[in-house]
């Protein structure tokens, strides 16, 4: 009986149910974002939305947003990749090293991405094939890759890799919006489309939501999660390369704390670290914008930087509380 209902209704029920969930949490974070914009406008004034300020916010949020779009698939599929920050750093350092050796960008980029995906494959093998605990395994990769960054950036801790064309490209703007931001947004929208409207997206959600039911329904949870972790590594790799362009350099500390920024934003945007199956990339993007917008208000108003951290932490709590009140996961 249980088996029949689940196979018969997988397509219909899941899509409806999940669309509701996704829209629900997306609306909640959208309202928060609108609130942030309103506060910004009333406190900072019209300067809050002047072109240069939008560029500032957009530039800062572009790479994390891109990384979040890819890492979101892992969360959705029921695995967590904590190593994305160190992977971004590793990718930056590797790309900068190759450029420093005189490699052209066209070869440095693919090699870097392949290397990142190789490490992603290690994550995936440990977590999916061997069944290692996802938090522990990716935590191990976080530590290991950070060590690799330090090794690559010896002895001064930084690698200069200023490629004029690359720098110009990554700093282009489309109106007030940085090009990278527009690209990241496009990736988010594509990811959201995949998640909500394609069979692949439904499979990922099913694998994350209830892996036993998914397996019974014929979805290869192993393949989905393996792919999701590879994707997460790929996204981090792309992010790291873009940082080399944006900043003209890489350092042993590049990407430190990025996993915190990305996952906090994703959690307030409706994803869950406890369980897979929920979350929409648009929620992640909005979550990032909420935090970036708030930091920007505090920066522009010259609030002591030490208070900014406190406010962002409180914001995280408030946003999750709000999400819970409108009907999101309640933790008992």
């Amino acid at each position: 009986m249980t088996v029949e209902t689940s196979t018969a209704n997988t397509s219909g029920f899941d899509r409806q149910h999940l669309r509701d969930l996704a829209t629900g949490s997306v609306t909640s974070i959208a309202v928060t974002l609108i609130a942030v914009i309103v506060v910004g406008l009333s406190w900072v004034g019209p300067n809050f939305v002047q072109a240069s300020n939008i560029t500032i916010i957009g530039t800062f949020v572009a790479v994390p947003m891109l990384v979040a779009a890819f890492a979101g698939f892992a969360l959705l599929g029921g695995v967590v990749d904590l190593s994305i920050g160190s992977m971004v750093g590793f990718s930056s350092c590797l790309c900068a090293t190759l450029l420093g050796w005189g490699w052209p960008l066209a070869t440095a980029i693919p090699v870097t991405l392949v290397a990142c995906m190789a490490f992603g494959a290690i994550n995936a093998t440990a977590v999916v094939i061997f069944g290692a605990d996802t938090i522990a395994a990716t935590l191990g990769m976080l530590v290991a890759l950070r060590g690799v960054c330090y090794l690559m950036a010896q002895p001064t801790g930084s690698l200069t890799a200023f490629d004029t064309n690359f720098y110009t490209f990554t700093n282009l703007t489309v109106g007030p919006l940085p090009l990278l931001f527009v690209i990241a947004l496009a990736v988010i929208v594509i990811a959201a489309f995949i998640v909500t409207r394609t069979r692949l997206g439904r499979h990922v959600q099913a694998a994350g939501g209830d892996d036993r039911a998914a397996t019974r329904a014929g979805i290869s949870v192993t393949r989905v999660r393996f792919g999701a972790l590879l994707l997460s590594a790929l996204g981090a790799g792309i992010g790291g390369i873009l940082y080399v362009g944006q900043l003209g350099s890489a350092s042993n500390l590049t990407g430190t704390g990025l996993e915190f920024q990305v996952y906090a934003a994703m959690m307030i945007g409706g994803y869950s670290i406890l369980r897979g199956g929920v979350g929409n990339p648009i929620g992640a993007a909005l979550g990032l914008l909420v935090v970036a917008g708030t930091s920007n208000i505090l920066d522009v108003q010259a609030i002591s930087p030490y208070f900014t951290n406190i406010i962002v932490g409180l914001l995280l709590l408030a946003a999750v509380l709000l999400d819970r009140l409108r009907g999101g996961d309640a933790y008992e």
Binding site: T27, A30, V31, I34, A35, V38, L41, S42, G45, P46, Q50, S52, N53, T55, I56, T59, F60, V63, Y150, A153, Q154, P155, T156, G157, S158, L159, T160, F162, Y167, Y243, Q246, L247, G248, S249, A250, S251, N252, L253, T254, T256, G257, N296, D299, V300, A302, S304, P305, Y306, T308
Partner: protein
């Protein structure tokens, strides 16, 4: 969907009214605006104090002051530069430990025609205010070398270097400089006795790392310690104490963070003060006051020929006992006549 739209419009209308009122009550013509980007590393109290002193001095002059934190992160340093430019500040003080991103910052500020003072880390086009980190390192190394010569005839069993790779080039200058200074006085210490470990410039991190290194050299008795800063060196000293091998360990620090007060480790023989928290006095006296008065000085961006040179102040532990802690120094500095530096006020041996 429509409800949300209505609700949004409802919330925005009073906001728009509020900002119309705010706009109407705009203030008088803007004063000189100084921006400062503090390092943001949570290791040391002088990082925060640097901003506090700059804020106080700016207030004394009736200037506007904007402080942002670089958070030891190159992406944030870049974002802060954009915010300063957008805010149309008249001058910026940068303490950017992530020097690899300085060329990008320089390009941005140059395009916006905003003069920049940089503390300790040189960048073409930025006014250099600070010490020569390498020279400070060498001075500390030489001081330690003299002790090693007197006590052990320049024959230690081990020379530990507490590195802080996260500090980038400053680590290379200071820790490397200390080794160079030590080698100058004691050139014959064999290469295998020089061991480096990563202490991140913090006692709590250096401690377990140094413990492991000491355990791996169980026969080393006469030990010298150099490092990025006092905290890093202290970690190694405490490791020796924990392993019961502190009878013959001597360390010399940098930056003077932990050599004042009544809680000084007995094995810290000395340190080199830069009085980092008081750099703003130099920056304002020699560069920014002149910019505010309308006659900017020529740009001197090299540590060897700086816009304003801060003298390092090597001290032995005994001499440091008379120097007050950071908080008291800041108070005294702000109460002193304009242009007085902490070096003037506190350094026991002026060279």
């Amino acid at each position: 969907m429509r409800m949300t739209l209505r609700r949004t419009l409802a919330t925005m209308t009073p906001a728009l009214l509020a900002l119309a009122i705010a706009g109407a009550s705009a203030g008088p013509a803007a004063a000189f605006k100084l921006g400062m980007a503090v390092g943001g590393d949570t290791c040391c109290d002088w990082m925060k104090a640097q901003g506090d002193v700059a804020a106080a001095l700016a207030k004394q002059r009736g200037w506007d002051y904007v402080e942002l934190s670089n958070n030891a992160d190159p992406a944030i340093a870049t974002k802060n530069a954009d915010i300063f430019i957008q805010d149309k500040v008249d001058a910026v003080i940068e303490f950017n430990g992530r020097s690899e991103v300085n060329p990008v910052l320089a390009a941005k500020f140059a395009a916006a025609k905003i003069p920049v003072v940089t503390y300790d880390i040189s960048q073409k086009g930025f006014y250099f205010v600070g010490i020569d980190n390498q020279a400070a390192g060498i001075a500390g190394g030489e001081a330690l070398g003299e002790i090693a010569k007197a006590k052990w005839n320049c024959q230690p069993d081990l020379v530990l270097s507490s590195e802080g790779a996260g500090a980038g080039i400053v680590n290379t200058w200071r820790t490397g400089g200390m080794r160079d200074g030590l080698k100058k006085v004691c050139p014959d210490i064999p290469a295998e006795k020089w061991i480096s470990f990563e202490g991140n410039g913090q006692a709590v991190v250096a401690l377990p790392a140094a413990r492991d290194v000491l355990a791996a050299h169980p026969d080393a008795k006469k030990i010298l310690v150099v490092g990025l800063n006092d905290g890093g060196v202290l970690g190694a000293l405490q490791a020796a104490e924990q392993l019961g091998r502190a009878d013959d360990i001597i360390g010399w620090g940098q930056d003077g963070s932990f050599i004042t007060g009544n809680n000084v480790d007995p094995h810290l023989a000395g340190s080199v003060f830069y009085f980092l928290e008081g750099y703003a006095v130099y920056a304002l006296r020699d560069v920014i006051d002149k910019i505010a008065a309308g006659s900017p000085p020529p740009v001197k961006d090299d540590a060897g020929d700086p816009a304003s040179r801060v003298q390092p102040c090597p001290v032995s532990a005994a001499e440091a006992a008379k120097i007050p802690g950071t908080a008291d120094r800041v108070k005294a500095l702000l109460a002193a006549p304009a242009g007085t530096t902490e070096y003037d006020l506190f350094c026991p041996k002026k060279s």
